[in-house]
């Protein structure tokens, strides 16, 4: 089955995307060295890109990549003159890896264990999410850096330091027991949500890898929910992501232009996904332990109700945001609350809520500036709205969103 060269290239890329986190998790756990596992896999992908266009894509791309990567690891182990005892351990891991790769192509629980390694309390809190994004979900350091607004070089150095600690301090690769689980789960969920956010922001759909990232995050959300059914926040996060994902197609009209949530055609929402979100949230809520993600999912659930009733219950949404702000007073929650207040009590109430936010927190937060411009415009103050539109446009990564804000800003300027 010799595939055409471009297909082989694509197959290698596809395998890279879908397998990366799984393979790093699998190898990293056995070698207790995430950095070495990543290096070996990188070599394997390079080898695949050289070989597959020529010889065709193997039947089990993951098994092939794993076989090459483990050879690299063994060679690297010899090269670094690892003690004989360690080499024996590595060899045992190699044999096991080979068995697993040929019998099955997915190792979901491995990824969960790696997620918990990344969220280990011995790892700097600020680095847990970036580490997960890179090692479990396969984001490159530059993209992780962009998500955390630091330079790629700084991010790379920090990631290297963290991986060195995992290896040299010997952090255990396993899902924590019941007593540690509640404290360890929070950072895992945060990281999954951050990954989803990166995929979600790509409204234009210009970057296929990004949309894939949203799928990966949902996949991880399902996995965590399935493996930890007694943790309601895991279900809350999954419900939240499914609600957002259900509207992906509706975010653009037939001409490709951006459509904000309140104007979306509900016929283009994915109702199976909304139903799954509702079921998931209902199960989570039964635990009677509300949390940040359950509340955020409930807010999205209230928005989804417009699909059935034809109107948005802003009072309910404002109340839910109030609870969310009390529980987790993030900038996002407070801007959301301001937007809801503007609908319930008027644009000036929303504006007042925005004015309460500390300037350091909102300086680079796009939704704040977009909402502020929108509210000023509604209040008939286009001159004040114009610079905020400009700021929001500048902070928008997405071309489609920029175009939307530009047209809004222009309409405001012309007095329409």
């Amino acid at each position: 089955m010799a595939a055409e060269a471009p297909d082989a290239h694509r197959a290698a890329e596809l395998a890279a995307r879908s397998s990366y986190g799984r393979l790093v998790a699998y190898l990293g756990r056995r070698w207790r060295d995430v950095a070495a596992a990543e290096d070996a896999l990188g070599d394997a992908f390079v080898a695949a890109l050289a070989k597959w266009p020529r010889d065709g894509v193997p039947d089990k791309p993951e098994a092939w990549l794993l076989a090459v990567a483990r050879r690299r690891l063994v060679d690297a182990g010899r090269h670094a003159s690892v003690e004989a005892r360690s080499l024996a351990v590595i060899q045992a891991g190699v044999d096991e890896a080979h068995g697993a790769a040929t019998s099955a192509s997915v190792f979901p629980e491995e990824r969960l264990a790696l997620l918990f390694v990344c969220a280990h309390p011995a790892i700097d809190e600020g680095m847990r999410t970036p580490l997960m994004l890179q090692t479990v979900l396969g984001l490159d350091a530059a993209r992780v850096a962009a998500a955390f607004v630091v330079s790629p070089i700084t991010m790379s150095q920090r990631l290297v330091r963290v991986k060195t600690k995992i290896r040299d301090a010997r952090i255990r690769f396993e899902v924590p027991g019941p007593s540690d689980l509640p404290a360890r789960l929070g950072p895992v969920l945060e990281a999954i949500y951050a990954a989803y956010g990166r995929g979600w922001e790509d409204v234009a759909g210009a970057d296929g890898r990004r949309e894939d990232l949203a799928d990966e995050a949902i996949w991880l959300g399902r996995l965590v929910t399935r493996l930890l059914p007694d943790e309601p926040e895991a279900g809350g996060l999954l419900a939240l992501m499914l609600h957002c994902e259900s509207r992906r197609a509706a975010r653009r009209d037939s001409g490709g232009a951006y459509v904000p949530l309140n104007d979306q055609d509900v016929g283009r929402w994915s109702w199976p996904m909304i139903e799954e979100a509702e079921r998931t949230l209902l199960v989570a809520a039964r635990a009677g332990a509300p949390g940040r993600f359950q509340l955020e999912a409930a807010i999205q659930s209230a928005h989804a109700l417009r699909g059935r009733t034809g109107r948005t219950d802003w009072e309910a949404i404002a109340l839910l945001y109030e609870g969310l702000v009390r529980l987790a007073p993030t900038v996002g929650a407070r801007v959301g609350h301001a937007a809801a207040l503007a609908e319930v009590k008027g644009a000036d109430a929303g504006l007042a809520a925005l004015d309460d936010l500390p300037s350091a927190a909102i300086a680079r937060y796009q939704p704040y500036w977009a909402l502020r411009a929108h509210l000023l415009n509604r209040l008939g103050r286009p001159d004040q709205a114009a610079p905020d539109y400009a700021r929001a446009i500048e902070l928008s990564e997405d071309e489609v969103v920029r175009a939307f804000l530009t047209s809004k800003g222009r309409a405001a300027g012309s007095g329409r």
């Binding site: 011995a122 040299d168 301090a169 010997r170 952090i171 255990r172």
Partner: protein, 116 residues
Amino acid sequence: MKYTILVYENEADFACRTDERRKAAYFGAYKAYTQALQAAGIMVGGAGLQPPPLGTTVRERDGKRHVQDGPYADTKEQLGGFYQIDVPDLDAALEWAARCPSASTGAVEVRPNLSM
């Protein structure tokens, strides 16, 4: 894998050692902890240290020796002793460290040993 458990004690911990009413409880807790490490077969070594005022800090600079009274770092918690243990991974080391009597009053640092 070998780890060192560095036991940092506050002034009150150090004071326990000479306080007639509290010293029995203090040393009893450390004795029990040490015995637990030995019974688990992970104890490699260690020592309790005299209090910081008995420390003397030495530096060699440009061939000259500078000797100074007192411990190296002027912090609220001071090194009061250390244990060397041999356990499979950091998580196991942290679990043992958390059981150290001073973990609930001072602070306990776990560092992997450099293999040489």
